[in-house]
Symmetry: C2
Amino acid sequence: MAQEKKLVESITSRDVDFAQWYTDVVKKAELTGYTSVKGCMVFKPAGYAIWENIRNELDRRFKETGVENVYLPMFIPESLLNKEKDHVEGFAPEVAWVTYGGLTELQERMCVRPTSETLFCDLYAKDIHSYRDLPKIYNQWCSVVRWEKTTRPFLRSREFLWQEGHTAHATAEEAEARTEQMLNVYADFLEDYLAIPVVRGRKTDKEKFAGAEATYTIEALMHDGKALQSGTSHNFGDGFARAFGIQFADKDNQLKYVHQTSWGMTTRLIGAIIMVHGDDSGLVLPPRVAPTQCVVIPIRQKAEGVMEKADEINAALKAAGIRSKVDDTDRSPGWKFADQEMRGFPMRIEVGPKDIEKGECVLVRRDTREKYQVKIEHVAEEAAKLLETIQKDMFERAKAFRDSHISTAVTYDEFRDAADNKPGFIRAAWCGETACEDQIKADTTCTSRCMAFGDDEAPEGAVCVCCGKPAKKLVYWGKAY
Amino acid sequence: MAQEKKLVESITSRDVDFAQWYTDVVKKAELTGYTSVKGCMVFKPAGYAIWENIRNELDRRFKETGVENVYLPMFIPESLLNKEKDHVEGFAPEVAWVTYGGLTELQERMCVRPTSETLFCDLYAKDIHSYRDLPKIYNQWCSVVRWEKTTRPFLRSREFLWQEGHTAHATAEEAEARTEQMLNVYADFLEDYLAIPVVRGRKTDKEKFAGAEATYTIEALMHDGKALQSGTSHNFGDGFARAFGIQFADKDNQLKYVHQTSWGMTTRLIGAIIMVHGDDSGLVLPPRVAPTQCVVIPIRQKAEGVMEKADEINAALKAAGIRSKVDDTDRSPGWKFADQEMRGFPMRIEVGPKDIEKGECVLVRRDTREKYQVKIEHVAEEAAKLLETIQKDMFERAKAFRDSHISTAVTYDEFRDAADNKPGFIRAAWCGETACEDQIKADTTCTSRCMAFGDDEAPEGAVCVCCGKPAKKLVYWGKAY
C-alpha cells in the first residue's frame, strides 16, 4: 500500500489550501496540461471527455427547444466590434488583435472573437427581412479568447471553450421568454446532470453583460464558500438591432427592430464539478457526466479465472449501457484503488478468487466509499441502480452544503462578520445604487451575485445593508471566482 | 407550378457553368452565408448539420481505433512554429499573426494555428518519458486559419473546420501502420457514409506535407472531372521528434526518438458531397449523412384527415429511426417538391385524400425521382429499405462515373489531349523527378494526385510520359481543387 499512500499524499488537503488542492487535482487526474503558449491550457483526454459529455447533453437539451447550430468566423473586424458602444467598451481592452495575414499588414485589424454578438448581428442584418424569417434560434460551439492577466485551469484562461446562443425575435415578450427559458435549461442541466444546485436570479446593472438590458445568471457555491457564475442569459432588447439595423416587415406591414438574446456556458463548468464534488483523494465525478462510470479491478489477477470474470462483469455493464472498463495493468490493487479515486470514477468493482467462489463481487462507491457485496449474475442492474443513487446523493449533499452556507445580514457589521467568518452566500437588502456595490466590494471583496428569483424582495421596511437608505431589493452577495 | 419553375430556374445548369452551379446550390440550399469578414464563411444550420453528422460518425470510427480527443491552444508562438524547418517554410507565408493582447504589444507574436504539429510536439516533449507513455493517439476537432487569397465556400476559406490527429509511437513500424490505418478509416468513411468512391495512394515528394516523410491521400472525382484531395495521412518518421527533442526510455533502457503521424479531414468534404452527387435541381444528400432524410408533404392539406395522416406517417418514420419531418407550411405542394429537391433531402413522401382512401402514400426518391406507391401501414419499413437502396445506388453511380473518367496516356501528346478533352484522372508513367511534375503542371495545369495503392507500378519498360526517361512509377494525374 506504499504506492497508494504516496499517490494520495501528493494531493494537498482541500481544507489546508483549497487553491493548491485544486491545482493538484487538475494535474493528478490529468485533466489539463501546459504548453509554451502563455495563459492557454491543454485539455487532456480525461478533461476533454468531460467537456464532450457536457456538450452532447446540453446540445440535446438545446435542440429540444428548437435551437439550430451554426458556425461563424473567429475574427471580428474592428469596425464591426465598434458598432455597439457598451459592448466594445466591455470587450476591447481584453481582446487579441490580428494585424498581419501572411506577410501583408491588414488594412483593418481584426480581433479574435471574445464573444460573437457583433457577428451574429451582422448575419441577422443580412438574413432577416420579414416576420417569416423569425425567430432565429442559433447557437455555436467554439472557443473564444480574452486576454486575461492571471489564469487558472478551467476557471480563467486566455482561450476557453463554450457555447454561445444568439436569438432574434419579433417581440420583446418572446425575447424575454427565451432569455428565461435558456436560464432554466442551464439550471436544470447543472442540477440534473452535474449534481450542482444553483441559485437562479438576475444580475444588478453593475454586473450585467456589456450591451444587455438584463442578465440572468445561475450561481453555484464551491466547497470553499466562493460563488461561481455558471451560466448567463442576456436580454438585449432592441439595442443591438438599432446599432446594426436589424429590421423586419411585420404582419402589419410596419418595419420593426428585432429583439435579441444571448446565452452561454463554458468549460469553467468543469472547474465547478471539481470544486463542488472533489475531496482529499481527488476528483469525484457525478455518474451522468463521468466519461468512465465504473472500473473493474481484478484482485490477484493472475489467479485462474479472475481476469475472465473481470471481463465478464465489464461486458455485462457495457451491455447495460454503463461506461465501464477493466484496469488490467500490472499495478497492485491498492494502487488501482487510489488511481480510481484520484480520477473520480464514480464506482469501482473489486473481484478476486474468494468473491468468485461465492459468485459475488464488491461494488465500491467513490463518493462515500461504501461497499456492497453483490451477486455477479445481478451486477449490471445493481451497478445501474447504485449509479443513480450516487447521482442523487451527490446532489443532495451539495444542496445541504449550499443551504447551510447562506447567511443573512441586516447590519453592515453583520455583513462584514459574515464576509470574514462565514464562507458562502450572504443575503442582504440593497438600495439599488452601484455606489453601495462598489463600497461593499472595496470593504469585503464580496460582489452582488444575483437577485434570486422568488427571493429578491427586500423585507418590509428594510434598509440597504451598506448605506442605510430604504432597500429596493434583496441580493445574494458572495466572494466569487 | 410557376413557383416551382422559378425556384429551379434560379440554379445554373451544372453542365453550362459548373462553378456558378456550385455557388447557386450552396446559396439556395442555405448551406453558407457571408459576413463582413473577408475570406471567411458562415456555416448556416443546413450546412453545419451536415458537418455535425460527419464529425459524429468519423469520431465514432476514430474512437473504435483507440483515438482520444484533446484540445490545444489556437495560438502558436513564432519560435515554436520555427522549430521544424520544412514545416515553417510550408506554413509561415499563409498564417494570421496576433501582435497585440488588449492594449499591449506582445513580446513575441503568435500565429493562429494553420495546423498543430508544433503544439502537439511541445506537449509530447513534456509528457513522453518512457515506453509506458506510448503510444499517444490524440485528435482534436477545431478550426484552423490559412490566409488564402481566393476563397470558395467549403473548398477554400481563410478559416475552416477540421479534425487533426497526431500520434506518437515507439517504433517506425507502428507509426507507418497507424498512417495507413487512418487513411483507410477515411477512405471507408467516404465510401460507406458519403457514397463517394476514392483512389487511395501516396503523394509524390513534391505534393507531400511540409515536414512529412510520406503523405498518403484519398482522391475523389467531382462531376466536372476535377479531383478533390479529400483526406491525408502523414508519416513524419522521427523528424519532428528530433526537432522538438521527444525522447523516451525504451524497454532496453535506451533513449530513443518517437515516430509520429498526423492526419486530417476538413469541411471541404461538404464541397465533395455537393460536387459528386448534386444535379440541376440542387443538392442530393446521401441518406446516411443527410440531416433530414425524408420530408412528408401533405397534398390538399386542408382536406379532412390529411394533416393527421401526414403526422402519423412522420411519427412512424421517426419511431423507426428515420430523420423525418412534415412540411406543413402554407406553400403549394409543387413549391414544396422543388424545395425538397433543392435542399437534397433523399426522399419525400406525398400523401393526399386519394392516397388515404386507398390506405397508401407515395415515396419519391430524390436521386432518380422514381415513385413508389406504398401501403401506409408498411411505410416505415419501406422507407428504411428505400434509403438503403438510395445510399447504395448513389455510390454505384458515382463509382461508375469515376471509373469511366480514368484515361491512360503513354505519350505526352496523349497526355495533353486527355488533359484538354477528357475530364478525369489520367494514368501515366513517371520518372520520379519533380522537374517533370513542374513541366506537366505548366503545360496542362494537371498535378500528380497520387501513386495509387496496388496500381502504382510503371509497366515493364515504360518511360516517363513527360521526359521519356525510364519510368519509376505509375501516377494518377488530374486537375484539382
